[in-house]
Subunit: 404 residues, 2 copies
Amino acid sequence: MVMDIKKTSTFNLQPIRQSVAVSFNYEIYFTNNLFELKNPTLAQVIAADEETKPKKVVAIVDAGLLEFFPGLVKQLTAYTQFYGEVLTLALEPMIVPGGEAAKNNPQLVEQIHQVIDTARLCRHSYILAIGGGAVLDLVGYAAATAHRGIRLIRIPTTVLAQNDSGVGVKNGINAFGKKNFLGTFAPPYAVINDSSFLKTLGDRDWRSGIAEALKVALIKDANFFEFINSRSAALVRRDMDAMQQLIYRCAQLHLEHIANSGDPFEMGSSRPLDFGHWAAHKLEHLTDYNLRHGEAVAIGIALDCTYSYLLGLLGKKDWQKILHTLSALGFTLYVPELEDSRCLFRGLTEFREHLGGELTLTLLQGVGKGIEVHEVDLSLYKQAILLLHEFVENKQSLVRVSVH
Amino acid sequence: MVMDIKKTSTFNLQPIRQSVAVSFNYEIYFTNNLFELKNPTLAQVIAADEETKPKKVVAIVDAGLLEFFPGLVKQLTAYTQFYGEVLTLALEPMIVPGGEAAKNNPQLVEQIHQVIDTARLCRHSYILAIGGGAVLDLVGYAAATAHRGIRLIRIPTTVLAQNDSGVGVKNGINAFGKKNFLGTFAPPYAVINDSSFLKTLGDRDWRSGIAEALKVALIKDANFFEFINSRSAALVRRDMDAMQQLIYRCAQLHLEHIANSGDPFEMGSSRPLDFGHWAAHKLEHLTDYNLRHGEAVAIGIALDCTYSYLLGLLGKKDWQKILHTLSALGFTLYVPELEDSRCLFRGLTEFREHLGGELTLTLLQGVGKGIEVHEVDLSLYKQAILLLHEFVENKQSLVRVSVH
């Protein structure tokens, strides 16, 4: 049937073939103390649009951030007054809950749309999204769907958001119990990474973001993996210089991938940057989001590296070095939710459904070398889970011995 | 201030400049009796993706259409069974209200998302949107935001949708009393124009779509305007050949504009295809959508041509010929809502807010030649309204005389 129908045609008028090329350009800035009056970065970004000033700005702020920066809203207000010829706050900043809660409440999207309407923003106005990755995803979705897209300046405040989600082209919220069920592809207008926000992060959030850096190193850049491996102690003791280098290189690799993949809006099925993510997404859900995204990604990486090793793709030394690096960074590599493999493996189906088309998993065939596969051997995956468990148990008993 | 801040910088790390190029390709097919078993068009479109078959399809159908094609759902079901190796209906077709009601009920978006979830569609599945422009806009918005975009095959069933909105890259619904407040730019996967749907259109809907053809002719193609002018009697007596030629050329001009404008996702402020639309959008709203979109566009064109004439941009003969052509096609060129100019002119502000940035109106400096302006003379616009009124009154008294 498929062959037959290709040969026949009932068209009277020739089809019109349409080709639309769209190009998006944006910059990722690195700064610190963004809202100090002497820091012109944000005002410069807005001044550069060369349109009539002052421009209308609305800020949406992660509530989690205000615990550590209670003066942030006041500072932002003072900043916009100081640079009042360039930008003006159209409304009081809106505060939204941080973390996954931001993505689980559809009313927040409506509330942001309401704010956009009340402030009478137009497509050339600016929305500042200030917060962690979840808040950026929420605000990005609301901004992308109002007036078919209002300019979004992302100001990511966590390691994860600064080196990964905040620099990319996606947004989204959860629906029907599925992560990112609703969302769009919408590049930001600009991204401003402010290292001063990182100082107040809890250790778990500081560490979480390192998982995505390790991920991109493993699939793309062996030297970067060596860097992370060699600086793991510095990263654990919160050396800001090491972290800044990690964020910069991770963001760079991420951006290069998006620009050069040939499929920035993911119309195909290939998604190498989702290495380790099928299990991560499922584990986040299974632990009711008690695991941070980066913590879940670390486990997902450990699992998919172990599977790659069992498949014979990844050498034993490399496999061990990766797991030791993850451990040295302080990641937990095993949670009991891995044991309910029937439930876990449903994550593979959901992963395929979200990406679309054929199942496409990235595995490792060496450090810095991702490879795509379209089939999985579930019994080998079960073995990988057991082997990962064993590795963690041995590690713990070694720790116990050395502590003793 | 603006100058000063450009000179200073506190960056330690160089900004990363990102450039993302995305290209969208799709075809507009012309056929008739699309769901007859012997018509392979739809199955061919889906077969051409060269992915594992059969592909999951969900259909969303305009309730207005079913009044004239009560057997449509049955026919569609039989069609998908006949081409079952290529496509499979994942669920019973969903019926949604037609016309502007489709865009005024936000719950419909949620219901379509629910259907997408229930049918477990992925990004490589297909949604068929079958109906008028409003239904295509609604379904397009829901499809674009689920899994960050499910393939959308538009099957427009009105003249307006076949030659204008259905072939473009936009979708949207109304919110906060504003037309298309929510929406995205999202090119379709394919468009299939079936002329057999046009036969059952009421005269108002048949005529409405001609307004957009006239609009694009006036700003881009004097020959096409001559075609419409010379075939106006044939179009009024519903000659299908004339209409097919009109739809084809209008769609072609529309698509060429999108492809070659340099700004397909409208990031700037220029929007020549919105000629006549600022008043049209406002008049639709002021008449509680008793005016069809095309009927409102005809009035908007008449008004902006008259204003162009008064500004000295458009010659008197051309101006008269345009108004006579609109009349000959059966359009009403004046409604009492034009008289409340304060209310009407608010449409200029809303138009600017929706497009963003500086006010940019397209006027005519000759047939086939649009020109953009950034300022309006409201008192001259009031004169244009009076002159348009006068033209319509004279026309009516002439008709009365000739009838007498």
